[in-house]
């Protein structure tokens, strides 16, 4: 893992990026009021300066792009793009492994396909950062990562290699095979608790083994427990280094997730959460953020009570929310958070709140707000350009910049 990150740092300072200036009639910085006639300068992949055109001079030699509306590159708080491929054939579906109920050791970057067409598809609408990875459908399906949508190799594009552990509660956690656990909600939780307790004990053994012996001799490695990739991942969860992303819809299952968190003290992020509005007081009290299902999600099965107003209701209750593309098994193979936020903006969220739910609020929820989510000096030079209100169905995304690299300039 460390070597991977080190590799990233070497590669990082913006591969093909030149110096870029983006000028917008309105620039939604998401860090204060929108700028009228604003300019953003990007140098070596980072925002060098931002301000009104009257005070920010575009240096000679900068490639200049102009648009009616400029926003930060959009952040998809949770999708499965790059895992659930465009063709939806067995060969390109890597979001779900069903051989075991609990597999937190499945690393996302071993599966992410940056060249899948859907990565380019969402980028074309201004999405520059995605939190993606193993999907719903198993009790613990694996890890997620956070990646830029440049569509190169995963190591060049990655922000966070191990972002969260993806779990599912409710019907989605049930085994598809008769007689194979978990077959019920209670069994699923029993399995999960047993595994987390194992991880607690594993962690204790590791700590005991890590203590330097009193006589200053070399640490006795033989006292370490046998390596378990699964438990290593869960130990990171127990230490609060990696949150658990629980895909869940029914109110009763949301409360179950809160109960588990109280027992094991891990960081919890609720995802989907169709009935979150029913238990919003409990969610608020627990201080747990919610990545709300796509606004246009289908209301079938456990999602039958979902509402287009959920993001708004939770936001008003003071719960941190972000909007996601989620997971789609069929058509559309991916949703686009720009469109989901637009419909949320028509259903209770203000324009600013809806845009925040796919920029700065999503970045904060994912813990990457120091790099992306707003246009501020020192942050990544990720921008999206539009020829009108970005949420209007008839507007176009006219440009996408990632770390100073102009990815596209065609109206989309």
């Amino acid at each position: 893992m460390k070597r991977l990150i080190a590799g990233l740092i070497l590669l990082s300072p913006a591969g093909a990026s030149a110096q870029v200036a983006v000028r917008g009639e309105i620039v939604h910085t998401m860090a204060g009021a929108p700028l009228k006639d604003g300019v953003v300068l990007v140098k070596d992949g980072k925002i060098e300066a931002i301000g009104p055109a009257s005070s920010v001079t575009i240096p000679a030699g900068y490639r200049t792009l102009a648009a009616k509306v400029v926003t930060p590159g959009l952040v998809d708080a949770r999708g499965t793009v790059g895992f659930s491929g465009v063709a939806n054939q067995p060969h390109d579906q890597d979001q779900l492994e069903t051989s075991a109920a609990i597999q937190p050791e499945l690393r996302a970057f071993d599966a992410y396909n940056p060249a899948d067409r859907l990565v380019g598809w969402v980028r074309g609408f201004g999405i520059t950062t995605i939190h993606t990875g193993h999907g719903p459908g198993a009790l613990v399906s694996g890890q997620t990562l956070i990646v830029k949508t440049r569509g190169r190799d995963v190591e060049a594009d990655i922000l966070v290699p191990f972002a969260m552990v993806a779990a599912t509660l409710g019907d989605g956690a049930r085994s598809r095979e008769e007689g194979k656990a978990p077959g019920t909600r209670a069994k699923a939780i029993a399995l999960l608790r047993a595994e987390l307790i194992k991880a607690q004990e594993y962690s204790k053994k590791l700590e005991a083994g890590a203590k330097p012996p009193a006589d200053d001799k070399e640490k006795d490695k033989s006292k370490d427990p046998e390596r378990s990739l699964k438990l290593e991942a869960l130990v990171r969860v127990l230490k609060g280094e990696v949150p658990v992303l629980v895909s869940v819809h029914r109110a009763q299952d949301i409360l179950t997730a809160l109960r588990l968190r109280d027992e094991f003290q891990f960081k919890l992020v609720l995802e989907g959460a169709a009935e979150a509005y029913v238990v919003k007081d409990q969610i608020k009290k627990a201080g747990v953020p919610v990545i709300v299902h796509p606004t246009m999600y289908r209301s079938s099965g456990e999602r039958e009570n979902l509402s287009m107003e959920t993001a708004s209701v939770l936001k008003k209750a003071g719960i941190p929310v972000a909007i996601e593309s989620g997971f789609e098994a069929y058509v559309p193979k991916t949703r686009v958070v720009l469109f989901e936020a637009a419909v949320a903006a028509a259903n209770g969220l203000s324009f600013d709140e809806a845009l925040a739910a796919i920029t700065i609020d999503a970045a904060r929820l994912l813990g990457i707000e120091k790099r992306v989510g707003s246009l501020e000096k020192g942050k990544d030079g990720d921008l999206a350009l539009y020829d009108g209100d970005p949420f209007e169905y008839t507007s176009h995304c006219t440009g996408v910049v990632i770390q100073g690299e102009v990815m596209s300039e065609t109206a989309n």
Binding site: N88, S300, S307, V331, V336, A346, E392, Y393
Partner: protein, 435 residues
């Protein structure tokens, strides 16, 4: 009001219902008639379930005593026409055979499926409810008006200009390729379809030759009877198709057997737009938020609307509900415009073009005197994300009112909004009962 009307309609039947429709109404606002240019300050007058006048305020005659609906700042357009929907939890043919023209969806629709209320909340007033695409031919479709006060499906049915209450659903490409007795290849798919149409031709000839003599007539065959209606041009084929070569196969079969066809989805339409236009085959297209999901839709393009418009084809748009949500039907027209279709044609695609595809354009699809009083009141421009459907009217009765909390629930979703069983109003007539 709506629930009161429903109760009245249900308990006392037509005389009082007709009474409610008798009262003339005048709607005054920005009018998008589809049949002509937008009227910034327009009126639509309705009476007895029909439109009696459409025109500019001031110069359009309004009957005295008309109930006035002041819609300043709002928009009035015709009720939306969806040429392809699966509301009602509908299923058609079973797995026993790939071609089942005897199967009717009217025998399979759950009238109390929440999809009906959601469709009303989306401004839909006329819908073609279809069986699925997992067969070469999955059954007879049903044309409905989303009227209030429904007790049975018969209360919703609408008859087209050819005396039909539905078309027939066919499909090619990969969905209908399955294990035997289903076809395994595209060529086999076409062969099976041709074989069946040849049978229908022979059946039709036998009937004709019997010249009304029941002793000489062939034994009744429900499937062949439906196919004869297709061969006679009375029953239109609604044909699911995606890939460019499959589209051309449909055109070829339509030409060989002389059946009328509307092609649906048509993901690759942009590749074969000229051929479609030359064959004068109407296209009902879909807008989903990303391509793929299956191999034959990898090249789905939002430019289909613009490409077909440019080629001169008749273009409609459908929801394919549940594939896209009826409540967001107008959004699809917005995406069509985003990708280059004209605003006029995109709005026509969700109204009059669809009506023409269902041969119902003499009754619905535009705001014109003499047509059914099916209309939608919008809070703003039809193509803006900010706009909500405020009211939906069918044949002079309000069937959806966003101001009514019960109706609003269907518009936004929420607890109980997707429950399949809406109130048993016809049993107890009480709007307060639980669901």
């Amino acid at each position: 009001m709506r629930h009161f009307l429903r109760a009245v309609a249900l308990l006392l039947a037509s005389p009082l219902l007709a009474g409610a429709q008798d009262q003339p109404h005048v709607f005054a606002g920005r009018v998008i008639p589809i049949a002509g240019p937008e009227i910034p300050n327009g009126v639509v007058v309705i009476e007895r379930g029909k439109i009696v006048a459409v025109g500019p305020e001031g110069t359009t005659k309004v009957p005295s005593g008309a109930i006035r609906h002041d819609l300043s700042g709002k928009v009035l357009m015709p009720g939306l026409v969806d040429t392809h929907s699966h509301i009602g939890d509908v299923a058609g043919a079973d797995a026993s055979a790939p071609i089942q023209p005897d199967v009717r969806v009217i025998d399979a629709i759950n009238l109390r499926h929440a999809g009906f209320q959601k469709a009303q909340a989306g401004g839909l007033t006329t819908v073609n409810i279809m069986p699925g695409s997992g067969h070469l031919l999955s059954g007879q479709t049903l044309y409905v008006k989303l009227r209030e006060g429904k007790v049975s499906l018969e209360d919703l049915v609408v008859t087209d200009a050819n005396g039909m209450t539905g078309g027939i659903k066919m499909a090619n490409g990969t969905n209908s390729r399955r294990k035997a007795p289903f076809p395994g290849t595209r060529a086999k798919s076409a062969a099976l379809v041709r074989e069946q149409f040849v049978k229908a031709q022979e059946y039709r000839k036998k009937i004709k030759d019997s010249a009304g003599d029941t002793k000489k007539a062939p034994a009744r065959d429900l499937g062949l009877e439906a196919l004869v209606e297709v061969l006679d041009g009375k029953r239109v084929v609604h044909h699911h198709t995606h890939r460019h070569d499959d589209v051309l196969t449909v055109l070829r079969l339509s030409k060989e057997f002389g059946f009328r066809v509307v092609i649906h989805h048509v993901s690759d339409a942009w590749m074969v737009a000229d051929q479609i236009a030359a064959a004068k085959v109407p296209c009902s297209i879909i807008f989903v938020d990303s391509p793929g999901g299956k191999l034959e839709t990898l090249d789905l393009s939002w430019k289909n609307g613009a490409a077909l418009e440019k080629a001169g084809a008749l273009v409609g748009i459908h929801t394919d509900d549940y594939i896209t949500d009826s409540r967001l039907f107008l959004r699809s027209a917005g995406l069509a415009v985003r990708a280059g279709m004209s605003r006029e044609k995109a709005l026509e695609a969700v109204t009059l073009a669809g009506a023409r595809m269902l041969s119902l354009d003499q009754r619905v699809g535009s705001l014109e005197a003499g047509k059914d009083a099916d209309l939608v009141v919008l809070s703003g421009d039809p193509l803006s994300y900010k706009t909500h459907v405020l009211e939906t009217w069918v044949e002079g009765l309000k069937v959806f009112d966003r101001g009514d909390p019960k109706d609003r629930l269907y518009a936004t979703g929420g607890y109980g909004a997707s429950h399949d069983q809406s109130p048993f109003a016809h049993l107890d007539g009480d709007e307060e009962e639980g669901r």
